[in-house]
């Protein structure tokens, strides 16, 4: 009998970083065999003994000696349990699954990243890839919206990107007190401020569905064609391999034809309720 695609590989947690009050990033190292190298935008299924599995996007690709990094928000039983683990503890990892951010298609284009909340996690490997191959791309802008200043993910890295001089990094929060000196307002307000050329720009959008709907509207309003807008969908997932049926979104399986999807391919169902 061939090996079940559901069988995880044991991975050891080597570091846990608390990013925000409810979100942590874990660094993982394979105990023996490793999963194939995830591409930006892909996700894995993380398994916690006695609790279960959850699809979690890869927030750091294991290249050049870096560990596999995954960012989890403690919202479900699995993610809550995993972010409480300590270095040395083991979890199961299988994957990677799903489509990738179009970092190759974006070659030669201006690139606009729009992230909302935890949506910065799946985008981070794509942003890192673009910045690591900076000469292949035109203007690069990272627009990031968070709930409050305390909910901003990867602060150090945002500062690092902003210091790069040839990257526009705009951060805004939905609500803040006076002590916050950054922008306050929704992330879509940043779109008009980014001042991109719609003819040569490709946008990658990741965040809660409502945030993506408004972002797509703002991008279209600014003249960006649907085929150069990419979004990342979220649906219930049990297998990640197209076999369990849970993640269907119209005729698509989010685990196979997603999570990253070209907007024009799903435009007809993107705003349909409960689909």
């Amino acid at each position: 009998m061939t090996v079940s695609p559901y069988l995880p590989l044991p991975y050891r947690i080597i570091a846990v970083r608390q990013d925000t009050p409810d979100t942590a990033t874990i660094d993982l190292q394979p105990v023996r065999a490793a999963i194939p190298e995830p591409a930006p935008g892909q996700f894995t299924m993380l398994y916690m003994l006695g609790v279960g599995e959850a699809p979690i996007s890869v927030s750091g690709v294991p290249i050049e000696g870096a560990p596999l990094a995954q960012t989890l928000r403690g919202v479900g039983n699995v993610s809550k349990a995993i972010i409480r683990l300590q270095p040395g503890d083991e979890i199961g990892v299988r994957g990677p699954y799903g489509t990738t951010w179009p970092v190759a298609e974006a070659d030669g284009h201006d690139v606009l990243f729009i992230a909302g909340g935890l949506g910065l996690a799946p985008l981070r490997p794509a942003i890192r890839h673009v910045l690591a191959h900076r000469d292949r791309y035109g203007r690069v802008a990272v627009l990031y919206g968070a709930r409050t200043p305390a909910d901003i993910l990867y602060r150090d890295e945002l500062v690092l990107w902003r210091r790069m001089l040839d990257v526009q990094v705009e951060v805004t929060v939905d609500r803040a007190q006076r002590a916050w000196h950054g922008a306050v307002g929704v992330v879509t307000e940043l779109v008009s401020r980014a001042g991109f050329e719609p003819d040569r720009t490709l946008a990658m959008v990741c965040g809660p569905e409502v945030m993506m709907r408004f972002s797509v509207q703002a991008l279209q309003g600014a003249g960006l064609p649907s085929e150069r807008i990419y979004v990342s969908m979220e649906r219930s997932m049990k297998c990640g391999t197209g076999l369990c049926g849970h993640c269907q979104f119209g005729a698509e399986f989010v685990c196979k034809q997603g999570a990253v999807m070209r907007y024009d391919r799903i435009a007809s169902i993107f705003t349909v309720r409960e689909i």
Binding site: G145, R147, D151, P208
Partner: protein, 155 residues
């Protein structure tokens, strides 16, 4: 020195404005400089002027009980601050504070309202610019209200 009319025409908000209307608006306008932490206006005051930000950041704030000040939104170069001058009773519904040194073009509300009344073409030019702004602000407020990012303890 730049004429007020050329400053008006240079504002993205007034892009495409016909010269005679720009001249009319310039007739109601004056330049302002606000030092950091200075207030452009306070909640409840009469809305006599609105501002086009030529430089610097402004935050719209509301003071709530317990000494807390909530920032509703921030406005930046090219943005318009203040719409209450359009709608009775013409009173500001938040504070506007300069976060940096701010250079702004202030347009006198009573003066402009009068010109709009007298000249519907000017009124329509203003409507075309302020209506999308108001809708955009409304949509932004709705999105903020949705609290789309949630939080683990408050899904």
């Amino acid at each position: 020195m730049e004429s007020l009319e050329s400053i008006v025409l240079a504002q993205p908000f007034f892009a495409g404005l016909e010269p005679d209307i720009a001249e009319m608006i310039a007739g109601c306008a004056r330049n302002h400089v606000f030092e950091p932490d200075a207030y452009l206006f306070h909640e409840g005051e009469a809305a006599r002027e609105f501002f086009l930000l030529r430089e610097g950041d402004v935050s719209l704030e509301i003071h709530i009980s317990g000494g807390t000040t909530i920032v509703l939104s921030t406005q930046h170069e090219g943005d318009v601050v203040g719409a209450s001058w359009l709608i009775p009773p013409y009173r500001w519904n938040s504070d506007a504070r300069a976060r940096t040194r701010v250079r702004a073009l202030g347009v006198d509300a009573e003066c402009l309202r009068g010109k709009c009344e007298a000249n519907p073409r000017t009124g329509y030019a203003m409507m075309k610019r302020f209506a999308p702004l108001l809708v955009r602000r409304l949509q932004a407020a709705q999105t903020q209200l949705l609290d789309v990012y949630g939080r683990a303890d408050r899904p």
